[in-house]
Symmetry: C3
Subunit: 136 residues, 3 copies
């Protein structure tokens, strides 16, 4: 069994931002040499989600509007004593915090529109995403 670990760094220019990372994950798979296995993509910060969905700007606007309507960013939260990020913690749970994807023939095994996104809900600072690959 082979394993491979990589820490990707992000520092978005916007507080709430969606960054396409499919190519970065594919690059990790190439570097790992794994042909058959899985890749776990796990944000190491708890106001970030990693998701798989469509690369379409309108949809990204829709996510933001729905999340803001369901869990307003500025509201009365018990967590917000000296911080203002309670909603960001909750958004990342609603969106699904991490993904595991299959590696087949040395590549991400994706459907026609599957794209991997780093979803930042409290940005403008440096954060890491852990990429862990196991396989052979």
């Amino acid at each position: 069994m082979k394993s491979f670990t990589k820490y990707l760094e992000f520092n978005t220019t916007k507080k709430i931002d969606f960054v396409l990372i499919t190519d970065k994950i594919q690059k990790c798979i190439f570097d790992s040499g794994v042909k058959e296995g899985i890749v776990l993509v796990n944000p190491m910060h708890i106001t970030v989600a990693v998701i798989v969905n469509d690369n379409e700007s309108g949809l990204i606007e829709d996510y933001k509007r729905v999340l803001e309507r369901l869990v307003p960013y500025k509201d009365n939260y018990a967590h917000n004593v000296g911080e203002d990020n309670a909603a960001a913690h909750i958004w990342r749970q609603l969106m699904g915090h991490q993904v595991t994807m299959a590696i087949t023939n040395g590549c991400l095994d994706l459907g026609p529109w599957e794209q991997i996104f780093y979803c930042e809900f409290e940005g403008i600072r440096k954060k890491r995403v852990l990429v862990k690959i196991i396989g052979e």
Copy 2:
């Protein structure tokens, strides 16, 4: 290490539908010959979720009603230019898009009521689910 890859096909007769797939996943595990490991069940289409929950028809009605109340299917979405599936994309994030399950002694290692469902939010067309098994 062994690995096994299978693409399951679905084409629901309803636009929104919940299909029990536990037996299909168990069949993949038998076919893989893996006795100890994990199975990733990942829909390759981005308006589908794969979840684990109860096989009870009332609960499935409750999911639909709650999702429709939180994120109405027909509403004003930026994504819906030439399509009408923005809510389907968002529902799949709220429900949790994929699952990874354990394989123990050659079987799905399930609790008493755990069942795996294919949750279609934009059906009546052919879609695929990727089953990736690794183990030994």
Copy 3:
């Protein structure tokens, strides 16, 4: 490849409760002897979520309030014939039902604030969480 399986038992004293389990998962990793791999933490009961987020009591109060506002525990659910746990089933989907974490150098590979929680939405009875480790 090594594999390791452990069933952790929980019986919360409150119907809705959040239990920090990071140390229990780390103990499983030590016991497994796996140095590089992944650990799947999957509740075997379908009104429970296992999540990764902040160990902060205010945030846990915020989760409860947001979940109750979005999907009230006592409401009119089709599932609630002889039971009252429909909302608990739905909460566990919204929060994300399971996590997979990386193992690096024999330890959980965690960011600075990542903590693993058992989130009970229908407690005061015995339930199990499956910990499955694969690696080498």
